[in-house]
């Protein structure tokens, strides 16, 4: 449920006016022949900030604030300060197109973007690519597994790999007979194929597979069906409200007991934690809910810097703990650092020039200095050295489709809503199950 179509038109109108004046007054722009620009750099966070998926906007803004804080403390990029700008894709492609084109037209020096979630990536990715803006995305669309767009870079696994990771974790915990309950739309399209492929290979069975509508008034009958299947665990994917309603009814109709739940790290949000603890109690949520997804080590220097920056910024400190365990925001953080270092290497902030340096920032090279944050990377480059950026999500190797992904991990909530990691799953094992 985005904005009225006509409203989109209005925002486009405003944008056009502003865009015209901006073009008249500044010599900047992304496509000028002079490979320099004046003024601050803007990092766009393209994500839903309204509508049912609005939580993703919040989750992806935070790493942008953290990364840009650190970059600015290190003196900015080539003398430019950098700031974040929220670009609302509303989760709906028809709304996203004008919003994103408006942002491209009206945002001064929009030199990089992060985000572009699965709902709208198929339509927004081509827009930023056409504008020659290098982009680190966090979507899981299978379609981009063989991406050919030059300005597109992905640091997260595709959705089917996530599904396989669910299966690995469930079987590892001894949940051989699982019931799959996916909310219509979320997960059912993306995660299910990987899950279906992996579960039998691991010796487990998918008992009941149920797709439920979002935000219904009652799920009693659906719950009764799941109870009748006697699952060891639920493989789950649904929004906080749907989850709360379903699990509350489950508990009431199952004499107060609930099976374990394996769900995606997408649900490592205060909303999900709050909604669920509110209705089934904190004990269950902290002991029996596993959140599986792309992950990273929390003992590295890069992580310490990331966590420190999240905690230091008043805009992000409240969710710093939760974010510490979630893959996509960390990918966005790393992505901004990678693009910033590519700008330094290219000696320009213009996308069409610095894009080719992205692989050089992360690729392993003999004699290169391994750096874990922007400041040390900048110092090494100033010293005339080669660098390899190894960030929060670890070493990154882009394949020819500009895709890269690291390991997976399972997390649990702590009583205060923060997350802690309880196990890891190697990326190669997951990919082998697809």
């Amino acid at each position: 449920m985005g904005s009225p179509r006509i409203w989109r038109f209005a925002t486009v109108m405003v944008g056009a006016t502003v865009g015209l004046s901006a073009c008249g007054s500044s010599s900047g722009g992304n496509n000028t022949t002079v490979p320099t620009q004046t003024g601050n750099i803007t990092a766009g966070v393209i994500a839903p900030f309204t509508g049912p998926a609005a939580q993703f906007g919040k989750l992806l803004s935070a790493p942008c604030f953290a990364a840009t804080d650190l970059i600015n403390q290190a003196g900015g990029i080539l003398g430019h300060q950098i700031s974040c700008s929220a670009i609302d894709d509303t989760g709906d492609a028809a709304d996203a197109v004008p919003n994103v084109t408006r942002a491209i037209a009206t945002t001064t020096n929009l030199d990089m973007t992060v985000g572009l979630e699965s709902n709208t990536a198929a339509t927004t990715v081509p827009l930023v690519n056409a504008a020659k803006i290098p982009t680190i995305t966090t979507n899981g669309l299978v379609a981009f597994t063989t991406n050919k767009l030059p300005y597109y870079w992905r640091l997260t696994p595709s959705d089917d790999a996530n599904g396989a990771a669910f299966a690995v974790w469930a079987v590892q915990k001894g949940f051989k007979n699982v019931a799959v309950v996916f909310q219509n739309g979320i997960g059912s399209e993306g995660n299910l194929p990987g899950l279906q492929s992996a579960m039998p290979k691991l010796g487990g069975t998918l008992g009941l597979q149920l797709t439920i509508p979002a935000d219904a008034a009652s799920y009693s009958s659906e719950v009764a069906r799941v109870i009748a299947a006697h699952p060891d665990a639920l493989i789950w994917s649904a929004d906080p409200q749907t989850t709360a309603t379903f699990m509350s009814e489950y508990k009431q109709l199952n004499n107060g007991s609930l099976p374990a739940m394996v769900t995606a790290t997408d649900s490592l949000t205060p909303d999900f934690f709050g909604a669920l603890t509110h209705v089934v109690g904190v004990d269950y949520v902290t002991n029996n809910v596993y959140l599986v997804g792309s992950s990273f080590s929390q003992t590295t220097a890069a992580f310490a810097t990331y966590k420190g920056a999240l905690s230091a910024d008043s805009k992000t400190s409240a969710i710093a703990d939760v974010l510490s365990a979630v893959g996509p925001p960390a990918s966005a953080y790393d992505g901004i650092n990678i693009l910033a270092l590519a700008m330094v290497m290219a000696k320009t902030t213009i996308g069409s020039y610095y894009n080719q340096f992205v692989t050089q920032v992360v690729s392993p090279k003999s004699g290169a200095v391994v750096v874990s944050d922007y400041a040390s990377g900048l110092a090494a480059l100033k010293a005339g050295k080669q660098i390899q950026y190894v960030g929060v999500i670890g070493a990154v190797v882009f394949n020819k489709y500009h895709n890269a992904a690291g390991e997976f991990a399972a997390n649990v909530f702590a009583a205060d809503g923060s997350a802690s990691r309880v196990g890891t799953i190697s990326g190669s094992k997951v990919l082998g199950l697809l």
Partner: protein, 322 residues
């Protein structure tokens, strides 16, 4: 240039909005059929265009599943979109066959809108469920991107021109008069020998074709289409253009499409973006839209540019209807 692409987006959205508003005006403003399921015909056009231009569903590695996949050329796919709008519009019109109070019919259509959206979202094999369809091919992908953009604008402009000419054939002259008579009092129109049910179905088919074409053009431009793009309240946005602009007046509703935009534009300029809740201005968009609809129904039901009736001069003079 970025702003130039922006202008292109603006023009394409204006064009597709105009087509949809004209179609709804023919149904509601001229003929009195409050089609609260209008957005469904737009969706029908968009989906049909998508499955006509896309290749078979099996060819993309399970990324999305859908029926059809005909790889038709662009103009044929546009026509198919318009045709789908006409067919779906006629089917929606079936809810009007029973001689019910008009508010009942409106509610029945509202329910149709919700039901179709629920079914399409729930069935992943039909039109890829709530994820919707993406990667709809751009017809001018082979051209230089800047030329391709303006080529699309030209296509939209051409469709609007043809659309307006077709629209005038229905809203002026004896048929326009008959439809307006049906709107003012459909019982009396029946008593005057007008086949009200038949006329309604025709109007729903023609209005549906407008909506279908609008949806097809939009889907072709943005390259994607999903259930979140056609929730039932989108119809209200079009309805608001009709009511504010002037029910039954072709020029009025065209102006209404602009006025709503200008009104909201003023609103957004005075609303600073609050960083803690960036969605607020979007919410205000709906509030302003609803409020302007009610305000016009209360204070100026005839709209900004009311429908004008032709004068039939004396015996020797001819007249100019419209």
């Amino acid at each position: 240039m970025a702003w130039e692409y922006y202008l292109v987006v603006m023009l394409v959205y204006l064009g597709t909005d105009l087509l949809a508003v004209w179609g709804l005006n023919l149904e509601f403003g001229v003929s009195g059929v409050a089609n609260l399921a209008y957005i469904v015909v737009v969706a029908a056009g968009a989906y049909t265009f998508a499955i006509c231009t896309l290749g078979p569903s099996s060819g993309n590695g399970g990324f999305q599943t859908y029926i059809g996949g005909f790889t038709l050329p662009f103009p044929l796919a546009l026509l198919a979109g318009a045709l789908a709008g006409a067919v779906v519009g006629t089917l929606i019109g079936v809810t009007g066959l029973k001689r019910l109070r008009q508010d009942y019919q409106a509610v029945a259509m509202l329910v149709v809108s919700l039901m179709v959206a629920t079914v399409v979202s729930a069935d992943t094999g039909f039109l890829n469920g709530s994820a919707g369809l993406a990667l709809i091919p751009n017809p001018f992908a082979d051209l230089d991107p800047e030329v391709a953009r303006w080529a699309y604008v030209a296509v939209v402009a051409f469709c609007c021109l043809i659309g307006f000419l077709v629209l005038r054939r229905f809203t002026t002259g004896p048929i326009g008069r008959t439809l307006r008579a049906m709107r003012d009092d459909d019982t009396a129109a029946s008593a005057a020998g007008k086949n009200v049910i038949g006329l309604r179905l025709v109007v729903q088919a023609v209005g549906g074709a407008f909506g279908g074409l609008s949806g097809a053009l939009l889907a072709g431009f943005i390259g994607g289409w999903s259930p979140s793009a056609w929730v039932y309240i989108e119809t209200l946005a079009f309805l608001s253009c009709v009511i504010v602009g002037g029910m039954g007046s072709d020029r009025g509703v065209s102006l209404g499409t602009l006025i709503i935009a200008v009104l909201l534009l003023q609103g957004v300029q005075f609303l600073p973006q609050i960083s803690s809740s960036p969605g607020l201005s979007e919410d205000f968009g709906w509030i302003i839209l609803g409020a302007s609809t009610i305000i016009f129904i209360w204070f100026r039901p005839q709209g900004v540019l009311p429908e004008r009736r032709p004068r039939y001069l004396g015996k020797s003079s001819s007249h100019s209807p419209g």
